[in-house]
Symmetry: C2
Subunit: 143 residues, 2 copies
Amino acid sequence: MRNTARWAATMGLTAAAVCGPLTGSALATQSTPAALYAPSALVLTVGHGHDAATVTPERAVTLTCAPTASGTHPAAPQACAELRAAGGDFDALRPVDGVLCTKLYNPVVVTVEGVWQGKRVSYERAFANACVKDVYGGNVFSF
Amino acid sequence: MRNTARWAATMGLTAAAVCGPLTGSALATQSTPAALYAPSALVLTVGHGHDAATVTPERAVTLTCAPTASGTHPAAPQACAELRAAGGDFDALRPVDGVLCTKLYNPVVVTVEGVWQGKRVSYERAFANACVKDVYGGNVFSF
């Protein structure tokens, strides 16, 4: 099934490559074929505070999940697997079992912007402290 | 000057590493030191149409410019250099000389989300066609 979809996509690309030049452009060498897969590319940020509108992003990482997991996220393959399991719904990420966090209130806010499987993502979530943030999903927010 | 700044940042990190554990966390092994540089991490998308709110992103690439250029952007080092030259202002990107584009109206819209040198970026720009898009800056929007 997966291979069938890939072949179908490849055939589509071939058609685009053949028909593309008909549109004629001075930058024909920089042609941009139709994507073979729905793009999944995200930027995640974290900063201290509880409202992204006022928080300076202290760290920012990229996470690409298609065609392969990559990016500056420190655990990209695991983060992509967690997001796939959650159907791309960041709110569906659950804390991993067996980790105890301090109750210290030192809020951090995470933002996620970009595209997940072809749909735009704009997400923001505050956590009581960095430990609590890290345990949601296990890897996605741990950067 | 640059080295001085680096040393100062390193000293700051050392202090953070020494003082960090005082906050105590069950995930101490996943400690998150202060960044050594202002983050620059972006997701760029492109789709056919003239309004990002209604356009499906057909492609999305990541672009990280600090500490080194990386990402799924096909020309990350050049794109980062162009953005640095423009002071991170996407509107300041100028068309490269010597490229002629068709007048065909087949609009594409580019979006940029993420962080540039520690400041949040949310940018959108429509171009008459993909050729016109590619020539702005030369590499930034050519993906």
